[in-house]
């Protein structure tokens, strides 16, 4: 009896979930065709986001949705479809294909892989769909990548650290995740800067996985192993982990590049007076919103200036990338102002955010 009831319950709940899923909205295919033909200027845009499991990405999506809303109110965008893949290439390909099959006008992709999506993208292009990879880049000459200039971003921090150290000292490099394109670009920038200073000795280069807890653990080991760390160069999402490791070790953190989270800014503002110095160049989640601005402009038929398009940082043989400079750099001088204006009161995982305004984006177009 129990088993029978169980089976019925389970089958019913399966049906219920399907109905629930089906009830969430009308088929996308239909709405596309109707709205597309209605105004003639109303676009359906798909966003294939490769990963949603961290705060930076969720903020990025929230930004995209926020900007899309203003366009929806103006009737420029009829619909924004957001799909998240769990860092799984095949899942992202499937989502891109679904977008093609449901007839979107443009697909924005935060790619899981720089190369593996190329066939899916070509399929989209064959179907007349505009493809805009953003945040990460894709190695295909026919797309237009919109990405933060990772090289100059990483170089800025590295240069600041080298300057502050006056070209001398022992440093730690806390990098992200091996095997990921952005990591390789940043690593190149780090190397280019630090190799110019023979007095700077890199004690160790470790991978913190762009995750606070991992960074905290690695740093804890490093603090104990090296008593003489003069500076730390770190990338995204790990600054607070490093600081936590120092707090736990009852030591003051040395000179270090920082992180864009509220948590880090809070620490910085509170300890600035006691001699903690840092440098943060924003790698804003707003890049998604910026990319959306570009996408809308291109859908409306505008052409990019040829000077806007630069070499693909991953595969320099291709010229297909708009490198967006980081819109904001925070140092000791403007820290208080930035903190008060944008960061105070936000959840501690919130990242310092900014995206290009429509007029700033216009400057990239002919």
């Amino acid at each position: 009896m129990l088993k029978k009831g169980l089976a019925t319950t389970i089958v019913l709940s399966l049906v219920a979930v399907f109905l629930l899923a089906a009830g969430c909205g009308t088929p996308t295919g239909k709405s596309t065709s109707s709205s597309g033909s209605g105004s003639g200027k109303s676009f359906v845009i798909g966003v294939a986001n490769g990963y949603i499991g961290n705060d930076w990405r969720t903020q990025m999506i929230a930004d995209v949705q926020q900007v899309a809303k203003t366009y929806e109110e103006k009737g420029v965008i009829s619909k924004l479809i957001v799909e998240n893949a769990n860092n799984d290439v095949t899942q992202q390909i499937s989502q891109i294909q679904n977008m093609i099959n449901s007839g979107v006008n443009a697909i924005m992709i935060d790619p899981v892989s720089a190369t593996a999506l190329v066939p899916a993208i070509q399929k989209a292009q064959k179907a007349g769909i505009l493809v805009i990879p953003f945040d990460g880049v894709v190695n295909n000459p026919k797309v237009t990548n919109i990405t933060t200039d990772q090289y100059s971003w990483a170089k800025g921090g590295a240069q600041w650290l080298a300057d502050q150290l006056h070209g001398k000292g022992n440093i730690i490099l806390m990098d992200g995740l091996a095997g990921v394109p952005a990591e390789n670009i940043r690593a190149q920038a780090e190397q280019d800067v630090f190799s110019k200073y023979p007095g700077i000795h890199v004690l160790q280069k470790v991978f913190g996985g762009w995750a606070e807890a991992t960074a905290e653990q690695k740093m804890t080991s490093l603090i104990a192993t090296y008593p003489n760390i003069d500076g730390i160069y770190t990338q995204d999402g790990m600054g607070m982990g490093i600081v936590q490791a120092y707090i736990a070790a009852h030591k003051k953190p040395p000179l270090m590049t920082g992180d864009v989270t509220v948590g880090f800014f809070k620490y910085w503002t509170e300890h600035q007076s006691s001699g903690f110095h840092s440098y943060v160049e924003s790698n804003p989640p707003g890049i998604g919103a910026t990319a959306l601005e570009f996408t809308v402009n291109m859908l409306q038929g505008k052409k990019l200036k040829s000077s806007s398009i630069q070499a693909n940082p991953v595969d320099t043989s291709q010229t297909n990338t708009v490198l967006v400079k980081s819109p904001l750099t925070v140092t000791d001088t403007n820290l208080q102002q930035v903190w008060n204006s944008t960061m105070k009161g936000k959840p501690s995982s919130y990242s310092l955010d900014a995206w290009l305004t429509p007029s700033q984006v216009d400057a990239y177009f002919q």
Binding site: G29, Q95, S113, A116, N139, N184
Partner: protein, 328 residues
């Protein structure tokens, strides 16, 4: 609880075929998908769905072979990756001919299977642990071969992969190829012995079946299918990526279980696993076309899969356990 003969006898008989569970789930998924996506049956749509399904089905076939024989293979995902990076880097960076590179790639995958099989069946260490450790090792090797995504394969290869041949989607032909390949084994002695060894170890021994050898071969089979899947996936994505296969180990197992194959071994079928794999692919479509809001997607797809699993489990329990009164 269970009366021996009743009107439902015929219905139960159908449900007793383990493959049915997978296909029923697949059908439910197909109907749900067709409701939310009217264009589902367009050739190009079928083509793109099958293009993604083909590698998963291949891995699931190999996984089924191992599971039938009472084992498990967690290293299949890393084998997919290994084949991918090897083929691409040989072709792109060492100027090997594509087909030669493909042969190398598949051979390397099979070699992993040989190592697995040897350690599990001859040295006798539990399969879960061996393949778990092997996963870490092979992923490391793949990362060493190709530290970052890159390289490519000849354009015509991936164009063919996305094309139709004689009105049929090419990936469909590849799935047929995979199934035929499986049938080569299924309808030889080895195919029966896999089931026998997984179903009744002692009985198999008593009937003179070389149990150790059969176990050994099951891992080679699984690795072979996984590396062919790697080859298909390479055609789909046309490039190399050292993290590409990560999801296949657990997804293939989910497909196998959804397909009504008992993880304990001895009972199940490849066609069921194929149904389970297709179900997993369809779930993604359903979530997309049902316009599930971004933050709800993971939850909804997760719920569908868990409920699917529970359905499989309950149907399986209800289908009645086979028993031998004096059997072991």
């Amino acid at each position: 609880m269970r009366t021996p003969f009743n009107l439902n006898q015929r219905a139960t008989r159908i449900f007793r075929s383990p493959a049915m569970i997978g296909w029923v789930l697949f059908l439910i998924g197909l109907v749900a998908n067709a409701i939310v996506q009217p264009t589902l049956f367009k050739l190009s749509v079928i083509n793109s769905n099958l293009g993604l399904a083909a590698p998963l089905i291949m891995v699931a076939i190999g996984q089924t072979a191992v599971v039938l024989a009472g084992g498990i293979d967690l290293s299949v995902g890393s084998i997919v990756t290994l084949t991918n990076v090897l083929v691409v880097s040989l072709y792109s960076f060492h100027h090997t001919g594509f087909w030669l590179a493909a042969i190398f790639g598949v051979a390397a995958g099979m070699a992993v299977g040989v190592v697995n099989g040897f350690i599990i069946s001859v040295v006798r260490i539990p399969a879960l642990l061996v393949t778990f450790a092997m996963m870490s090792i092979v992923n490391g090797v793949a990362l060493a071969i190709l530290p970052q995504p890159g390289g490519q394969i000849p354009a015509d290869i991936y164009q063919i992969y996305g094309s139709t041949v004689g009105g049929l989607p090419f990936p469909f032909l590849l799935i047929v190829f995979g199934v035929l390949l499986w049938m080569i084994f299924r309808y030889r002695k080895i195919g029966r012995y896999l089931i026998a060894v997984g179903g009744a170890d002692w009985s198999s021994r008593a009937n003179g079946i070389p149990v150790t050898k059969v176990r050994f071969q099951s891992y080679i089979l699984s690795a072979t299918f996984a590396s062919l899947a790697g080859l298909f996936l390479t055609s789909e994505v046309s490039s190399g990526d050292p993290l590409i296969g990560a999801s296949y180990a657990l997804n293939s197992l989910a497909a196998v279980v959804l397909g009504g194959t008992a993880l304990a071994g001895g009972r199940g079928s490849v066609s069921g696993s194929a149904g389970g794999a297709l179900f997993l692919i369809l779930v993604q479509n359903i979530v997309y076309f049902a316009n599930v809001p971004s933050y709800y997607q993971t939850l909804v797809s997760g719920l569908i899969v868990v409920i699917g699993l529970a359905t499989t489990g309950v149907l399986y329990v209800r289908s009645g356990k086979l028993h031998l009164t004096n059997g072991r």
